[in-house]
Amino acid sequence: MPGRRVAIVGVGHSKYGYRNDVSLPELAWEAIRQAIEDAGVDQESIDYVVYGNVGVWSSEPLPAVVINEYAGLTPRGTMRVEAACATGSAALKAAYDAVSAGAADIALVVGVEKMNESPTPTVVELIGRAGNYFWEFENFGLTFPGYYALYATAYMAATGATEEDLCRVAVKNHYYAARNPKAHFPREISLEQCMKSRYIAWPLKLYDCSPISDGAAAVVLASEELARKLTDTPVWIKGVGVASDTSNISRRPDFLVRRGVVEAVKKAYRMAGIDYENAARQVDLAEVHDAFTIAEILSYEELGFAKRGEGYLLAREGQTYIGGLVPVNVSGGLKAKGHPLGATGVGMAAEIATQLRGEADRGRQVPVRHGVGVANNVGGTGHYAYVFVYSLNP
């Protein structure tokens, strides 16, 4: 049963990167201030605040109340949610559900992460533990690049994709990050640079991997009635799909497609009226979960942009640049815009809303023909799958 229509009416996005110049609440405030000013609402009119924050590497165990206090949001109802790298999208889903159900008219979603409060080996350890702790980490010391490397090895063996094809994703995403002042790495790289970078988890190299980032993003959601009063350009949440996959990567039938992601995509497309087989021609852009370059290629197939086993050809042919079949990650993606876990999904929402409103930076604004964008945020290696379809049309 469909609930009330929900729209994004305000967006905020901090600079992602190595943000040891600010504390966790200061970082969150950068995004919150922008979002509530963009929406034209004050703190008192917000009914509910949901935070996406994975934490553990940062010192505050209760980020929701710490940031609520700092941002003048006390005594608004709040909570913090966690879904690994899809944490931001889980926060967005919780707030969407509240507004859709009528439990809130205006909700604020804040994704924030300060990964650099701990040394890199500790962060590598904590992310590596995120799978099935006892059967994967305790004895075998998997890392997050390692899990995706298991997918990359299987995919390359099955399809003919090469390490160059993976690096082409990195080159594209750095190209757009160079045009995004909020990106962690706003600079271009060459294919050669990527190919020559050291192996992190074979066959993935340094430039195949997203960085350890700090950052924050925020969006204000409103019910249809309020959205129309607040803005002339509400960006509607037209489709939402959520699914999961096994914690043990070994319990999956293959390492070529993430079943949960396909399921979430199909749910979101059905709700939004997008034809899975022809999806690339019905959206203006996609923000996909390129925590590792292989993940972007898997996403092409899972989003219906390429047939199974042919996603790498889109990378090889440059079909996901602006002007190609469908622009993907013209923000720079997780790869080069950065991947502050809790912020990532909210940052995708902010990016797509900004693009559909025609307000993206020069050199990376997509042509808006359909008024539709899709975000694919994945926790772990498909452990959590979240997909949102955004549209200028309710």
């Binding site: 190595y18 040891n20 110049d21 010192s59 040394p119 080996p121 500790t122 590598v124 350890e125 590596g128 533990r129 099935n132 006892f134 059967w135 994967e136 980490f137 305790e138 004895n139 075998f140 010391g141 998997l142 890392t143 690049p145 390692g146 490397a149 298991l150 997918y151 990359a152 090895t153 299987a154 063996a157 099955a158 050291r198 192996y199 992190i200 988890a201 074979w202 066959p203 993935l204 043990n248 990567i249 070994s250 319990r251 999956r252 293959d254 390492f255």
Partner: protein, 191 residues
């Protein structure tokens, strides 16, 4: 120098620096190495070490001690679980029998971990693979061969119970079948 030693050396340097900062300024404030931003070096630290309940799958460890790698099979519906689990969600029974995995398996995928978690930083680079064994379950474990050029998807592997050093406990690993390893090396030489 191992990654573990590098990390330890680095932390020692930082701590010496912080002690000096406290003596000279009165605070554990250090400038960020990259940006110069002021950072408070936490004066509290936390070590996490869990006790994990394995009572209901205790037989698995007894199996390892006997040199066997065991999965559970539901006596009611026949579903096989590896890693072993005590309850069958498919038919909701908890009546399991233990079955040994077949020795001959096929490598489905693999990686070699070069950048390691801090609690694994004392090991040399290690390969991790997933292989399928009869009666049709997958096993994730280290592979004895850590040169990725000597591994390939589809190669024959067997499992072995091994002692994990330096921790000194029993676990299992994947071992490439010898003729397979030679074949891959041969291809490498020709290539």
């Amino acid at each position: 120098m191992s990654q573990k030693k590098q990390i330890e050396e680095y932390m020692k340097q930082v701590e010496a620096f912080v002690e000096e900062a406290k003596r000279s300024t009165g605070f554990p404030l250090v400038p960020d190495q990259k940006t110069g931003a002021a950072l408070w070096f936490d004066q509290r630290s936390l070590t996490l070490r869990y006790t994990i309940s394995v009572e209901r799958i205790r037989r698995f460890f007894e199996g390892l001690a006997e040199g066997r790698l065991l999965a559970t099979r539901c006596r009611k519906c026949g579903a096989v679980y590896f890693p072993p689990q005590a309850d069958c969600p498919r038919c909701r029974a908890s009546d399991m029998e233990w079955v040994e995995l077949g020795k001959e398996g096929e490598l489905l995928t693999y990686t070699v971990i070069y950048t390691k978690p801090s609690s694994f930083a004392h090991y040399p680079d290690y390969a991790v693979g997933v292989a399928r064994f009869p009666p049709g379950v997958n096993v994730l474990a280290w592979i004895r061969e850590s040169d990725p050029r000597k591994l390939r998807v589809g190669m024959k592997v067997r499992w072995e119970v091994v002692k994990r050093e330096p921790e000194n406990y029993l676990t299992y690993e994947l071992v490439p079948a010898e003729e397979e390893a030679e074949e891959v090396q041969g291809e490498e030489a020709r290539g």
